[in-house]
Amino acid sequence: MSETDSGLRPMAFAPDILARIAPELSLQRHLAIGLRPSLRNFHEFRPVQTGDGGLSRYTSSSQNDSPVLGSAVLKSGNTTVICGITAGIVEEKLSEQALAEAASVYPVVEIARGRMGAPTDEEMILSQKLFETVHHAGVLQKAALKVNVGIRSQNSDGTSEVFYPDQNSEDDLMFKPSREWSFVLYAHFQVFSREGPMFDLCWGALVKALQATQLPYAYIDERIADIKVPIRSRGHFGTVRENYMLACDYARSQPLEIAGKCGWSSSFGVVDAHSEESGDMSGDIQMDESAVLLADLQGEAEETNVVSRITVVTAGELLHNVSIVGGGATITKQFLKQAIEVSRRRAADLLA
């Protein structure tokens, strides 16, 4: 702010400083010359690289006993998303009808922001949105999460062997366990260097991680398959069934079955590009404005000023999720059509 020569002169700022003090102005100046603050074209996405995270016990080269069953890493611009899938087991007996119902994963998104603390609203909203989209898309069915339970039996010579219903004939199985178990899948996300809305990247990482997920087989010991433990409490007697003797057989596993296509998510913003900066933000509609569709929002200037948003999850001809927020510039059907078309092409490219 040092003013060496006196007298008035117009203030000039470097682009990054202007972007901080007047994001709206900075954005409009960029749009006017057909560019965005990130110097990308209007419909240009940041390139996305995906990789296997190497966290999973099934893919990592070294022998490890990590609880992660599938993982993925996704990079786009400066942002990195790491997704790891873990699982828990619950006992539940499902009818034929219930097995066909849609299941989901329970995502926990953590966006690194340099300090610890309770999850922010953005993290919670993102987690819930991922959960709902997976659930409604119907790509996971409860049947796919059923635990393949075998029985370990002791041979007369003291060695033990595990029999699985899908690998051994009925005769080999002395008896089938009467109880059934299901996996509950959790997806943990770590996001580093967040630069814009995160749904696209998280969805991509989740899909890749689910595709890489292997579910272990599990077995119970023949002798404790139906054990009952007597209990006594305040004059009452009863028996409690032991719950915990289910062991996972990490040597055997099967890939997680995904029904249909998960697709890819692309998001857009729609913003009015003023032909001349009016400086009036009160929302008066001026007719000389023309709105533009911006792909893959990035940076503060775009995030704060582009209020109208479109997010599309495309899976081939079908759509799994379309969310439109139209608070700012009017989202017309043309924009929607354009957005869907661009995201289809992008999905085809990325998933090819």
Binding site: K93, S178, S233, G238, V240
Partner: protein, 302 residues
Amino acid sequence: MVKGLEISTNEQTFLLEALQKGIRMDGRKVDEFRNVEISIGDEYGYIEIRMGKTKILARVSAEITQPFEDRPFEGVFQISTEVSPMASPMFEHNRQSSNEVLISRLIEKAIRRSGALDLESLCIVAGSKCWLIRADLHFLDYDGGFIDASCIAVMVGLSHFRKPDISINGDDIVVHSIEEREPVPLSILHMPICVTFSFFNPHDSEANIKGDANEELSIIDATLSEELLRQGELTLTLNKNREVCQISKAGGLPMDALLIMDLAKKAYTITERLTDQIKAVLKEDELKRSEKNKLLSASNAR
């Protein structure tokens, strides 16, 4: 609208002077409980309570869960009392004020700890399956008397609620839908009713501590403005069997010990009247439902 609630000095003096003459703003007598309107919704356990301008909604629901490890033969009963700014902007979201803590603790003591709901009857398979009964209280509008009203709401809700019938077949538990089998009521052991008394000191505080003249005023079922001005409160919980379930006096104005007996007597008449009213409302609702069922079964030519 202002966020906090404050009463001007003029209004304060007016209210207190009127109270000394036995007159209350809403025309009630000092020991008169507000008229309680109970309305029952279509679903089981959906209860709306109105006391003057105070409005509370109770929703009772049930699900199957695992019992606590140290109590394998008992079901689980939870009451959730979270006050949102809907009741009044003075309640902050996600931050429990001491007032809210007091409300939830008192309701907990009055209903859960007094054993109003028979928890052992909620056991399905010892140690592994039991019913979880939830009572969600939604405070919609606040004009005093949250404790008294919510106690009524929970008790009507519990008495009205029906949990789905189950049958146990070896290791399998079959939950029958409401259409399939008549749902079963909960086992309610007694019906506690809370009555809150508020105390006012007509003289300065010293006169009272010296204990010469115990002239404190006591009123039943204070409205919000009376609650804001009161110097002490006492909540008595009784049931129709003339049993005291809970007494709570959390500091405030000291009062004559003998007064409690007197107040308990007053509270008992209110308890008796309210219990009868609740029973009558429940009976009326049951009649309505059975008539509906009759109509349905008549049209079904089975």
